[in-house]
């Protein structure tokens, strides 16, 4: 057994911290696209467009049923062999695409459940004033479903941040990739991976605090 090299660890912190923006960028972009896609999937699941509904069910089942790492490899290394125009794609883009597709499948299910949780009177009131389906969804149902689903969606965002660490397997030098390189150079694997673990932990803790505040805010929603 040897002692931890604290000064090495301290020196590593600013190096790895400089990669946090890339991590947040990938997770942030993935979250935005996943929210849009998941809302569309969820609305389809509620409205059930013939034929399309079967495809959506298949999509959700596949992306929930297979590991994120397998999906990333399939997109980044596999698909370009079949679809030649995909060779242009860089690792960051592929990671964002993978995170989007993977998490949209999960988020679609919680948004769908939240839509189903919106009181029937809200649907009827929207119909009674002559709204189209799209207007009803956009103006009345989705905003209320969003409030119901928000805490769960934050959980998925947290998972997504941790998921960005897989981007290093696509050759992206993000936080995890940088830690890996540093460790390989210094042979101080334990120190490097301990620092990276603590950094992820801190990011997630900050988000969890935000989530608690969000929940308090949502609980007194619309009560003014």
């Amino acid at each position: 057994m040897r002692a931890l090299d604290f000064s090495y660890m301290l020196g590593l912190v600013p190096v790895l911290v400089s990669y946090i923006p890339l991590t947040l960028f990938m997770a942030g972009a993935g979250m935005v696209f996943a929210l849009i896609l998941a809302s569309a999937l969820a609305v389809e699941r509620v409205v059930k467009v013939p034929v399309l509904d079967g495809l959506v069910v298949l999509f959700i089942s596949f992306f929930r049923g297979t590991p994120l790492l397998v999906q990333l490899f399939l997109f980044y290394y596999g698909l370009p062999q079949v679809l030649s125009f995909l060779t242009q794609i860089n690792g960051v883009t592929a990671a964002i695409m993978g995170l989007t597709l993977h998490f949209s499948a999960y988020m679609a299910e919680s948004i769908r459940a939240a839509i189903a949780g919106v009181d029937r009177s809200q649907w009827e009131a929207a119909q009674s004033i002559g709204m189209t389906q799209a207007q009803m969804m956009r103006r009345i149902i989705l905003p209320q479903a969003g409030r119901i689903a928000a805490p769960t969606l934050v959980n998925y965002f947290i998972d997504m941040i941790k998921g960005t660490s897989l981007a290093f397997t696509l050759g992206v030098t993000e936080m995890m990739g940088a830690a890996q390189k540093e460790a390989a150079g210094s042979f101080r694997y334990f120190e490097a991976f301990l620092v990276i673990a603590v950094l992820y932990w801190i990011i997630v803790e900050i988000l969890s605090q935000g989530q608690k505040r969000l929940e308090i805010h949502l609980n007194k929603a619309y009560a003014r």
């Binding site: 009181d119 009177s121 809200q122 009827e124 009131a125 929207a126 119909q127 009674s128 004033i129 002559g130 709204m131 189209t132 207007q135 103006r139 009345i140 905003p143 209320q144 409030r147 619309y222 009560a223 003014r224």
Partner: protein
């Protein structure tokens, strides 16, 4: 002019509306009474397709819809010519009182926000809720919520206003203010079709009272006739029961 002919609604094998015929003149106030489960709510809900009737025609103003083959466009047309006041208020929970009233004006009728806001402010003043404009439904009493519900319906400028027992979910202390607002609406010669158990109110506001039983209109006429000199034995029994 509203014309309803042969309006029929079944839930499974149960016939809830049995070929209802009903004409309502412009500005007429029609009150529907009848025992529980006779299809009063269903009649109102079929008129704006919250429930889809299987047969019959509905004519409202310039729009005639054959219920059996109503298109999406026709259904929207009916809904935009009618306004519904719900027993449980059904205000949009994510919108303030003012936004509830503005919503249809902006989203459905495509009016400028400023104009809608002015109209909503006017209606809030009329309903005595000017100080509640920015309140969400959850922060309003039942009576206040229902007044916003009526305000939302007023804003539509509908050919026909439908009221489904607008006071029966209310604590007794709030019933009066809601009925007062309905009287105000009636004074503006708004065409109204009202389901209510408030017999005194019916007597006072109705041009015509319609008694339904078993999915049919059994007897109708001015309140003095229907309420004071009922002919049908079922109506007599019903009136004795509600006192």
């Amino acid at each position: 002019m509203i014309g309803i002919q042969g309006l029929t609604k079944r839930f499974g094998d149960t016939v809830v509306l049995d070929a209802i015929d009903l004409d309502i003149a412009d500005g007429e106030r029609v009150v529907v009474i009848g025992p529980s489960g006779t299809g009063k709510s269903t009649l109102l809900r079929c008129l704006n397709f919250l429930d889809a009737p299987q047969a019959g025609t509905i004519r409202i103003g310039d729009l005639t819809v054959d219920a059996a083959q109503a298109t999406r466009q026709q259904i929207l047309g009916l809904r935009r010519r009618t306004a519904f006041v719900f027993q449980n208020y059904a205000l949009f929970a994510n919108k303030t009182a003012k936004q509830n009233i503005m919503e249809a004006l902006v989203t459905v009728q495509g009016r400028p926000v400023q104009e809608a806001e002015a109209r909503a402010t006017e209606i809030l003043a009329q309903t005595g809720l000017a100080d509640k404009a920015e309140s969400y439904p959850a922060a309003l009493s039942g009576g206040q919520q229902q007044r916003v519900g009526i305000g939302r319906a007023m804003a539509l400028g509908a050919d026909l206003m439908l009221f489904d027992e607008p006071t029966s979910a209310l604590d007794p202390e709030w019933v009066g203010e809601v009925l007062d607002l309905m009287r105000q609406v009636a004074e503006q010669r708004q065409t109204m079709l009202i389901v209510t158990h408030e017999m005194q109110f019916a007597r006072e506001i109705a041009d015509r009272v319609v008694f339904m039983d078993g999915g049919r209109i059994v007897e109708q006429g001015p309140p003095s006739q229907v309420l004071d000199a009922p002919q049908d034995e079922r109506l007599q029994r019903f009136l004795r029961r509600v006192g």
